[in-house]
Amino acid sequence: MDIVVLVKQVPDTESLVQIAADGVSVKKDEIKWVMNPYDELAVEEALRIREAKGGTVTIVSVGAQKAQETVRTALAMGADKGLLVNDPKAEGSDALGTARILAAAVKSLPCDLVIAGQRAVDEDNYQVGAAVAELLGIPHVSLVVKAEVLEGKVRCHRSVEGGTVVVEAPLPMLFTTQRGLNEPRYASLPGIMKAKKKPLEIKTAADFGVDAARIGVAGRRVVVKALRLPPQRKTVRMITGETPEALAAELVRVLHEDARLI
């Protein structure tokens, strides 16, 4: 089975994100860049399926030159080959623009199954996986916490509010990952050494015939007018009291009388 995993390089979730001078993008330096955590689950799941069923795992990403590191990390985990679309014209693409590039790249590869993160933790768009599936004309299932590859189809346990729904979709299909799917492995030292020799192609969007007018900043359907810091809360009001009971009584009083919440 040929599996394609879509990955994105994002700022580590512990990093402080700052607004750049242009007011509509974030400062790229002084950030620790990592693989999107949901994509780690996707790589791990692909490796497990390959270990059980045979086949190949190809990593596809759209990003800066630096995003090679993230593709390499996936190769070090055990993926077979990587493809990074690095193209100034693609920079600043919105979710649909990014999906357009990814879909075109996936189309060029042998592919039975695509696995993607449910969202990237930078822009939190929750869109790219579904959009890639739509552009490829294949079904998708999102938020998968358990995937069973059966004869010609995948049975997905999809996490929904209040439980799980089991959905089946025929191959080729795409699913997106949710926490609980697996525990991603760390790249081992031999894995890291081997990854250096694994093929990592770097291409442009035009190599896949993507119309430059529909990607990048120019192709954005969702235009960022301004980035700002979230509204600040008023200074915390500390509740005081001599005993746990007194503290509790005062807290419940303010929540009831002042905030009218309980």
């Binding site: 822009e123 939190d124 729904v165 089991v166 980035l227 009971e245």
Partner: protein, 321 residues
């Protein structure tokens, strides 16, 4: 030319979810600002009666997509049925709730319709016909004001944020023939948790526990029960195996906006703050007076949660009689 606003509702087991009223109310506000009409869409099987529930919230027209094939949410069937209606209505704006279902449907719809989608918005403003949506990014560390080019403008609103407002009017109800297209996915089984436990993203009140619980969530659960609240957890509590993944609030977990969020024994890592910063009122309880959580809280209590929480639970019970 595209005009009008469509609000897509969401029902489960024949009941409209709260976010549906939020989406319709927001749709009404946008339609009023644009000086145009609002159409509400209901999709499901045997859901015709739900139209009556929506009339108080101001749609001019209600389209009911009623088909056995829509009984369970399946992306392909819903996308086809809803996009068919949208192509006919040709609206300028589409509003829906950014729930599990709404996020999935809107993402696929956006690609099908080649439309811009502002996901998980916490505010929508409309000035001189231009709509600006505010959406948290980086788990709420930053807010982006975005404008959507082209039509329809798809706006998915974060549950629990938009105000529900009544605006009764006599809506015309239509039940067009439903087209499902080629449906390739099948729902095999639903494994729902028993007891109708409050869902984190919909809860009005959440009590969360972190590393400070040491794995003992009993006081957290007791207070949650007294407040009829949902129970959440920090990533470290989940990583320790104390709570399941579905309970995690944070940048790599659920993003919540309850009216009241009570963080117990949670230090306040950026990761966690990202998931709950849009809560209306935040209470922090931590034994460390220097914990970063206090800088994000409205009310703070320094002390031992194992002593204070049971006392709070008792005080709540006494208040509620």
């Amino acid at each position: 030319m595209a005009q009008g606003v469509v609000a897509i509702t969401e029902q489960r087991d024949g009941t409209l979810r709260k976010v549906s009223y939020e989406a319709v109310s927001e749709g009404r506000r946008i339609a009023d600002a644009l000086g145009t009409g609002l159409t509400a869409v209901i999709a499901g099987a045997g859901v015709g009666a739900l139209a009556a529930d929506l009339k108080a919230f101001g749609p001019d027209r209600i389209v009911v997509l009623d088909d056995p094939g829509l009984a369970e949410y399946r992306t392909d069937a819903y996308t086809h049925a809803v996009s068919t209606v949208l192509k006919t209505l040709d609206p300028a704006v589409v509003v829906l709730g950014a729930t599990v279902q709404g996020k999935d449907l809107s993402a696929r719809l956006a690609a099908r319709l080649d439309a811009g989608l502002a996901m998980d918005c916490t505010a929508v403003s409309c000035t001189g016909g231009a709509i600006v949506c505010t959406r948290p990014m980086f788990g709420g560390k930053l807010f982006a004001d975005v404008q959507i080019q082209g039509t329809p403008q798809l706006i998915a609103v974060r549950p629990n944020v938009m105000a529900i407002a009544t605006a009764p009017r006599e809506a015309a109800v239509e039940t067009p023939a439903v087209e499902l297209g080629e449906v390739r996915t099948a729902v095999v089984e639903r494994l729902m948790e028993p007891g109708g436990k409050a869902e984190l993203t919909e809860a009005d009140v959440i009590v969360s526990g972190g590393r400070g619980t040491g794995g003992n969530f009993k006081p957290v659960e007791d207070l949650a029960a007294a407040l009829n609240a949902a129970v959440g957890a920090s990533r470290s509590a989940v990583d320790e195996g104390w709570r399941k993944h579905g309970d995690q609030v944070g940048q790599t977990g659920k993003v919540v906006s309850p009216a009241l969020y009570i963080a117990c024994g949670i230090s306040g890592a950026i990761q966690h703050l990202a998931g709950m910063s849009t809560s209306k009122v935040i209470v922090a309880l931590n034994k460390d007076a220097e914990a970063p959580i206090f800088s994000k809280a409205d009310f703070g209590v320094v002390g031992d949660m194992f002593q204070i929480l049971p006392a709070v639970t008792e005080a709540v019970k006494k208040l509620k009689g």
